[in-house]
């Protein structure tokens, strides 16, 4: 995909100030072309989570523009916003599955935006939605778990259900919030690999908030560093050097973190 194509998502001058007075985002501008997997790194409280929540307006931005596929999101009314949200799948840190529903119900909940209330209440989804659900569950290796309750699953399995739920929306963009923070190192890598593979298969763009710099460097094609609500780094994984990490996180001995990228087989440990 050519890098000069019109961006899928264009953020300009996005600012968020919470009612407490904290400035979480300060004039952030960012463009994500179609199909690009981008990692968003930065210390806790830098505004990573706020940034992706401002895109689908789970958090209302204070000022600035968010344009998805040429449509401005920040001014949409309720119904239009719901339609726009269908194009943005979201994956959460603590999975955020509805624990007491089955895997299949959780997956189908990704179609709620396309389904009327009563149809969804009686669990009457179109046949092709259910088929797609089974196909995706099979793709992530969970087809046999369809009727298990979500709280019976392990962390890695839950996150895969979360991914399938997001894909069910037929999104153009994935907003991924710390997908690996609650997982062990091996599962973390599997989940990251799965997200990236699925994005490639379906040509999806993704913004992935992540704490683990090594994972970000390994799986993302572009890395954006956020610090105190401002973008302080934007480049390829190769250009993320000690100076850049210092700019993002502050002074620390980064030699080990950087060396680890070259050691391909080493199992990454969470940095934070």
């Amino acid at each position: 995909m050519p890098e000069n194509a019109p961006p899928l998502l264009a953020i300009t001058g996005l600012t968020k100030r919470y009612a407490t007075g904290d400035l979480a985002l300060n004039e952030v501008s960012l463009a994500v072309p179609p199909g690009q997997v981008m990692a968003l790194i930065g210390p806790s409280g830098a505004g990573k989570s706020t940034l992706i929540r401002c895109v689908n307006r789970l958090v209302e931005p204070t000022s600035g523009q968010v344009v998805l596929d040429g449509a401005e999101l920040t001014t949409l009314g309720r119904a239009a916003l719901r339609r726009a949200r269908r194009r943005m799948g979201m994956i959460f840190q603590e999975y955020a599955l509805v624990e007491r529903l089955t895997v299949m119900e959780n997956v189908l909940s990704g179609r709620l935006g396309y389904t009327g209330f009563w149809a969804s209440w009686f669990r009457r989804f179109p046949r092709r939605d259910v088929e797609e659900a089974f196909r995706l569950l099979a793709r992530v290796g969970l087809a046999h778990m369809a009727d298990k309750r979500a709280d019976a699953l392990s962390g890695g399995q839950r996150q895969r259900v979360g991914i399938v739920r997001a894909l069910m929306q037929d999104p153009a963009l994935l907003l991924v919030d710390e997908p690996t923070a609650s997982l062990d190192p091996k599962t973390s890598r599997q989940i990251m690999r799965l997200i990236v593979e699925l994005c490639e298969e379906r040509g999806l763009a993704a913004i992935i908030n992540i704490h683990d710099v090594a994972l970000a460097q390994e799986f993302a094609r572009r890395i954006v560093g956020l610090r105190a609500g401002r973008i302080v780094f934007d480049g390829t994984p190769e250009t993320l050097d000690a100076a850049a990490l210092t700019a993002i996180y502050g002074e620390e001995d980064w030699s080990r973190t950087i060396r680890r990228i070259e050691a391909e087989d080493s199992v990454a440990e969470p940095v934070a």
Binding site: M104, E131, F134, A138, R139, A143, A146
Partner: protein, 272 residues
């Protein structure tokens, strides 16, 4: 990938949301039984519609009693009833808590030998089975009309309530802490005081506050069977169709319950 071997379309055709009760026979039996019960239950309710229509005038009279309520003309009776209710509440709560502690210790399987355990559980069972009003009838028959019967009733009910919940808590205490204190060579009483009591104290205080609240509410009805308190005043007012006085009493009860509830809620938040 297993996706090739897995037939999503067939799985989707076969998929139904899993019902709450998996055996279809039992499921329909439960549905049918419930339906049959409701029909039968409603059918056996005998309503004297003529009498009910006649009562609408009294309903208006009763509602009219609230505009305005009459606190004054039976002021002495109201005050007397209120004092009886309040004193009953205080004494029965204090006495009930004091008595419930030994009963709770006796009703904890991890502390008491079997005969004591059964005896204490028996007290709890009797106290919880019978509604306060029934106990009050028995006490009135034994000690005569007046607040003493009410006080004894509430004390008995408090013991059952507190001892059951406390015993549950005592049975759940941390074994390690109890063992550690026992290992110091402490005697039985110091063992209780140093290992059991500290663990159940927040719950003891919380339950006491809650029970104070319940006891006041209950004290407002014991008067109906002659066991003293504001219920007596209320009953008399209803008997004489003095709806404005009854309204005043009801408003006072609601006000005091509100105060009790906020205080007990505040105390419980403090200790937890």
């Amino acid at each position: 990938m297993s996706a090739t071997a897995f037939d999503a379309a067939a799985a989707a055709r076969a998929w139904r949301p899993p019902p709450l009760i998996s055996s279809p026979l039992l499921r329909y039996a439960v549905y049918l039984g419930a339906l049959a019960y409701v029909v039968l239950g409603v059918a056996t309710v005998e309503v004297n519609w003529a009498r009910a229509a006649e009562g609408m005038g009294r309903a208006a009279g009763f509602l009219g009693g609230f505009f305005p309520p009459d606190f004054v003309s039976k002021g002495d009776d109201i005050f007397e009833g209120l004092m009886e209710s309040l004193t009953m509440t205080v004494v029965s709560t204090a006495l009930g808590i004091a008595l419930s502690i030994p009963v709770a210790l006796g009703a904890s399987r991890n502390l008491a030998p079997l005969p004591i355990y059964l005896f204490c559980r028996g007290i709890i069972a009797v106290s919880r089975t019978f509604q306060e009003i029934i106990i009050a009838i028995v006490f009135v028959a034994m000690v005569g009309f007046g607040p003493l019967a009410g006080m004894l009733t509430l004390t008995f009910a408090t013991v059952g309530f507190m001892a059951k919940l406390l015993a549950e808590d005592i049975e759940d205490i941390e074994r390690a802490q109890a063992e550690a204190v026992r290992a110091t060579g402490a005697g039985w009483f110091s063992w209780i005081a140093w290992s059991v009591l500290p663990q159940v104290k927040p719950r003891l205080i919380g339950l006491s506050a809650y029970r104070l609240d319940i006891n006041f509410r209950e004290s407002a009805v014991l008067g109906l069977v002659g066991a003293g308190g504001i219920g007596d005043t209320l009953n008399t007012a209803f008997d004489r169709y003095e709806f404005d006085t009854a309204a005043a009493v009801l408003l006072i009860i609601i006000a005091i319950v509100l105060v009790c509830e906020y205080t007990s809620g505040w105390i419980r938040r403090k200790v937890q």
